[in-house]
């Protein structure tokens, strides 16, 4: 591993075609980052963590597509495994909405949540399109993968990449990783694996993901939004406020119409004919009201 230099963009290339689902990445991540994890649960496939959250910064997904009858070789896509992680998006939805400025881009171009600045509003959870961030119940702040910020500062690669036995998780400079990813996908296509594709390696998804993937199926099979659905929260700012503005104008107009109509209303006593709500007479002309009107000047 060459020297890790501040000012350069670092990230992961996760090649799902060679993931074997061993979860060494999950264990290494928890060990280094002192994450307690949750009670294991026995979910689909060999999944016992469920998803990414405050305690799981790496999560190996298992997708069982094994057909009832063997029809062909499967070409590596009947058992899909992917070690999921924060994508360290170039256009990060979490960072966009964060009201406290707790989410920053580091000198390694990663997206980092400052635990001492975050106040636990959870707007980033609502925004992250990848279900990455979780709230820590003990500390009250939100947490996610830091790209092992502390390790990078100490010139060490992230723990998950270090532990991965198949090099499914590769760490390095993003530009270099993109080149090797392109070579890998070209090799797979040449071998007839036509479904292999890169996700997030170019800028079509959130301006590029610093943690990008080689997938063996559609992005949605791995719970990743496709290009059309990879959209930023701010897309709704202008239409949302415009809708509210038009409603506000109509609301004011409605109030003015009602006030004009009220000008044509019958005398108060008539308006409350049949008894005022609390059984008193129509009361605009009560002594109390008169006194207040006088006080009004």
């Amino acid at each position: 591993m060459p020297e890790i230099t501040p000012g350069k963009a670092y990230g992961f290339f996760t090649d799902t075609s060679v993931c074997i689902g061993c979860k060494a990445c999950e264990v290494a991540c928890k060990t280094w980052n002192l994450l307690e994890g949750h009670e294991p649960s026995f979910l689909d496939g060999f999944d016992n963590t469920g998803g990414l959250d405050a305690e799981n910064w790496r999560h190996v997904q298992f997708h069982d597509n094994v057909p009832d009858q063997t029809l062909g070789s499967g070409q590596g896509s009947v058992w899909l495994m992917m070690s999921d992680v924060c994508k360290h998006c170039q256009q990060a939805s979490c960072m966009e909405v964060c009201p406290t400025g707790a989410i920053i881009r580091t000198e390694f171009d990663s997206v980092f949540i400052q635990p001492d600045v975050c106040n636990g509003c959870r707007d980033c959870i609502a925004a992250c399109p990848y279900d990455v961030i979780g709230a820590n119940e003990t500390t009250g702040v939100v947490q996610k993968c830091t790209l092992c910020y502390d390790r990078l500062q100490g010139d060490m690669m992230p723990a998950c990449a270090q532990a991965c036995p198949t090099e499914s998780i590769q760490f390095g400079e993003v530009d270099v990783l993109r080149e090797s990813a392109q070579k890998r996908v070209d090799a797979l296509h040449a071998a007839g694996v036509s479904k292999a594709r890169l996700y997030g390696a170019d800028d079509s998804i959130y301006g590029g993901l610093n943690a990008f993937f080689l997938l063996m199926d559609e992005p949605s099979a791995y719970r990743l939004p496709n290009e059309r659905n990879a959209v930023l929260p701010s897309r709704n700012n202008i239409p949302g406020y415009l809708g509210a503005l038009v409603t506000g104008v109509l609301g004011v107009l409605g109030g003015l119409i009602a006030i004009r109509r009220r000008g044509q209303s019958p005398e108060p006593a008539e308006a409350t004919a049949g008894g005022a709500p609390d059984g008193t007479a129509g009361a605009a002309d009560t002594p109390d009201a008169e006194a207040r009107e006088k006080a009004d000047g």
Partner: protein
């Protein structure tokens, strides 16, 4: 069809009641200001009632927002960024939560001044400054102040919907109608709330007709925005999440809350007499239940 793979932020009860109270405060302030600008003496009691109604929710709103935070004592991080090397005021106009915090602070100040002024006019607050305040507010400055306050009030009633939309959550981010919808429902709820409160301020009943007519118009506006909301969700294909069981029950309450206004519109059109005078308690409470149910259905359906 829109695809979403997000986690819910767990904005639940505190946020529900914040949205509800923000809508009522903003709507009440707006109605109060419209009446004040018209300047008819017979509308003054209702205008003052509106300013009274707008204030107490603002005591509760910050508490709800603070309690909803994971670390409540860090609420002030919303306004002050502590990032080393980048410390300073936090103002992100593209983040509705950041914008909303500032708007709430400004609006709370304005509503507090209006509240104090109203107390002074009613002779319930006598301090050195109050006479001066009333005198100043009687002039053009008072009108400008009230209009600025109304702009913030409308913002506070509506931005909560935009806050939900500016996310990647299903339903919330699949529509642009939530800001308008929450605002319309806040206005309709405020008209209903003031109708209810006229029970305790009889002199305000002179303007009851105005409330009845505005409630009808706001119910129409809200109904139209619910239609827009449904259409946008149909386009995204996520309508099943928010209109499925048990949320349908809440939508029934929402529709029930619209009925008095819509019925009034059909039967009485814009005539300032109406059934609201005949059923003074049930009608406002039903409308208010609808306002709460609307927010409940939208907030809870995608999170629980």
């Amino acid at each position: 069809m829109a695809e979403h793979f997000v986690a819910p932020p767990d904005w639940l009860w505190y946020i529900l009641f914040y949205f509800f109270l923000a809508g009522l405060s903003g709507g009440s302030y707006t109605i109060a200001t419209l009446l004040r600008l018209r300047g008819a003496p017979e509308d003054a009691p209702l205008s003052r009632l509106g300013y009274y109604a707008a204030w107490p929710p603002l005591l509760i709103c910050p508490i709800l927002l603070i309690l909803d935070l994971g670390t409540p004592l860090r609420f002030w991080h919303m306004i002050w960024n502590l990032t080393p090397g980048d410390a300073g005021l936090n103002f992100k106009y593209w983040s509705p939560m950041s914008l909303g915090v500032w708007a709430l602070i400004v609006y709370s100040g304005i509503a507090t001044v209006s509240f104090a002024e109203t107390l002074a006019r009613d002779g319930k607050l006598r301090m050195g400054l109050t006479d001066w305040l009333v005198r100043v507010m009687d002039g053009l400055l008072g009108k400008v102040f009230a209009v600025v306050g109304m702009v913030f009030a409308l913002f506070i009633a509506g931005y909560t919907g935009v806050l939900l939309a500016v996310s990647n959550q299903p339903v919330w981010s699949d529509t642009w109608a939530l800001g308008g919808l929450f605002l319309a429902s806040g206005l309709s709820g405020s008209a209903a709330l003031l109708m209810f409160l006229t029970r305790y301020r009889p002199e305000a009943r002179a303007s009851f007709g105005m409330l009845a007519v505005s409630e009808r118009l706001y119910a129409l506006l809200e109904g139209a925005l619910i239609v827009v909301f449904v259409l946008t969700l149909l386009w995204a294909g996520t309508q099943g999440l928010v209109f499925g069981f048990p949320w349908l029950l809440l939508w029934i309450v929402v529709l029930a809350g619209l009925l008095p206004g819509l019925r009034g519109l059909v039967v009485h059109r814009l005539s300032p007499t109406g059934e609201a005078v005949v059923a003074p308690v049930a009608v406002p409470l039903l409308v208010l239940a609808g306002v709460l149910a609307l927010r409940g259905a939208i907030i809870f359906s995608i999170q629980v």
